[in-house]
């Protein structure tokens, strides 16, 4: 009897280990798969040229990924720049200042925001943000902008990742023990001093992790960005220019015009690049995380 129980215990442990390893397997499998699919174009062209050329003429067999890479980074960067202060201040307010009533009122609203399908954000962006940029903002800076732009993509994306950031930040701030706040307050610090010097410091690893998650999500967001960013493969010279991020490229073209030689392989390479960008970004944020943990003594 005892042996049977021990056997079950062992089986449970091993099978769970197996399933856990599976997630690593998926990651490798996807990476290798994408690489394999993009091999034809990598064999045909010089890798460096593919990455640094901005000529995208599939009919002529020219595939330059630079505009797509830059667009992806650009849109994501703007999104996080806009979303970060909003979500930080909101979550600081909710966890540190707001009464329970206010917190309980806002929490479900924020959760709801993150549950709205991306396509609705896309429609909202097309109907409000795009014309607003084209008519109100852009004229102050550039001669002409259709509104379908890096900025529009960034704004829509920022609205989409804000709820995610808020809910993780709230979780992070909430996990700081009450005693730590009291230690600071009892020395005569104001709430704001406590937030700035203790809460934010202590939360720094959590904040970085949250940003990493949000950025990874933003890199891959497809439909909402695709609807507002113009989809022209140029290197945007300002935030009011149209752009064409990698996910949009794949979504718009995969399955069409596959008669063109190397086209499918090029799209696979776009996916592979996106994959690489996210992997590099996550590894980078891991490194930053480690450094911060050492530096801030948290």
């Amino acid at each position: 009897m005892i042996r049977f129980r021990l056997f079950k215990d062992k089986t449970a442990r091993l099978s769970m280990l197996g399933i856990t390893i599976l997630s690593l397997g998926f990651l490798l499998l996807i990476g290798i798969g994408l690489f394999y699919m993009s091999l034809p174009i990598l064999r045909e062209k010089e890798t460096w040229k593919l990455l640094t050329s901005s000529n995208w003429k599939p009919f002529k067999g020219e595939f330059g990924f630079l505009p797509y890479i830059i667009s992806t980074l650009h849109v994501t960067f703007i999104a996080i720049i806009i979303a970060l202060p909003f979500s930080l201040l909101t979550s600081i307010y909710l966890t540190e200042y707001a009464t329970e009533k206010i917190r309980n009122f806002f929490a479900p609203i924020i959760d709801l925001l993150s549950g709205i399908p991306p396509v609705i954000y896309g429609v909202w962006g097309t109907l409000t943000i795009v014309p607003f940029i084209s008519e109100e903002i852009a004229p102050h800076f550039v001669e002409f902008s259709s509104g379908y732009s890096v900025l529009a993509g960034g704004i829509v994306l920022s609205v989409m990742i804000t709820p995610l950031l808020i809910s993780i930040f709230c979780e992070v701030f909430g996990s700081i023990p009450k005693e730590m706040r009291e230690a600071s307050l009892s020395l005569g610090a104001t709430k704001w001093q406590t937030v700035k010097q203790i809460i934010l410091r202590k939360s720094m690893p959590g904040i970085i992790a949250a940003i990493a998650l949000a950025v990874s999500r933003a890199f891959g967001e497809t439909i909402a960005v695709l609807m507002v960013c113009g989809n022209i493969p140029i290197i945007p010279s300002s935030i009011f220019d149209a752009c064409y991020p990698l996910p949009a490229l794949i979504a718009n073209n995969y399955g069409e015009m596959l008669s063109i030689p190397s086209y499918e392989s090029a799209l696979m390479m776009a996916a592979f690049l996106l994959f690489i960008i996210i992997v590099i970004f996550n590894a980078g944020s891991r490194l930053i995380l480690n450094r911060i943990e050492r530096r801030y003594h948290v």
Partner: protein, 277 residues
Amino acid sequence: METVNLDQVETILENSIIDIMTHSDIINPHIRVEGLNLNIGENHILKDVNLSIPSKKITCIIGPSGCGKTTLLRSFNRMHDDSPNVKITGKIFVDDENIYDEKAQVISIRKKMGLLAQRPCPLPMSIYDNITYGPRIHGAWQRRKLYATAKHYLSEVGLWDEVKDRLKASPGHLSIGQQQRLCLARGLAVEPEIILGDEATSALDPISTRKIEELFVTLKKDYTIVLVTHTLSQAKRIADYIAFMYMGKLIEFGTTDQIFNHPQKQLTKDYISGYFS
């Protein structure tokens, strides 16, 4: 000639020599609590507490768990301000200033008191920054002055020699007793007049506890010290005055000798002799 047996002599002596004192006999109290009532929601936690804390002495608040001693202590530096549903009536005077007056500045009240929590809670910064945190939030910035402050208070708690070579290191590597002394030094660095200890040694080993207790005894020449403790032996060791609380009420206040040797109330007597705890 009338003969008196020894027992009677003792009784006579007790009644004549032992001057039964109450908190209202304290002259120039540092903290004076008047008619303090505290409710958390529906629960009446502190019931009409009147208490005077003598200046530059160690006063221990004792009583069974849940009697409101920590709540009382925390009301001294208005730590209940941010708790929802807490309603406080009555007055607490610190240096003759009612800290629950509308005009009272909570920041300056808290600056007057160092709070030592149950478990040491180092802030997420280096040992050095932990000490200078208080002065810095109150506006100090000169490096030399901050360094002098850090050195002075770390020495005062006997930590300087132990940490002087790793001031920039994380306090996480210190032992828990060292951490508690660090927290004490951090509290002292804002130059308070009063030290509040909320079972400040309950998480510590006996040796660290002794160190902290010895510190309290040395510090009382400069500071008024109020400690909440549920170890009677600790109160016996270091207290000058004792306040005994039960079910939210202050039952008895007196000198350590009075409370331990001549308690006036039956409840006190029972608690001291360990009938309940």
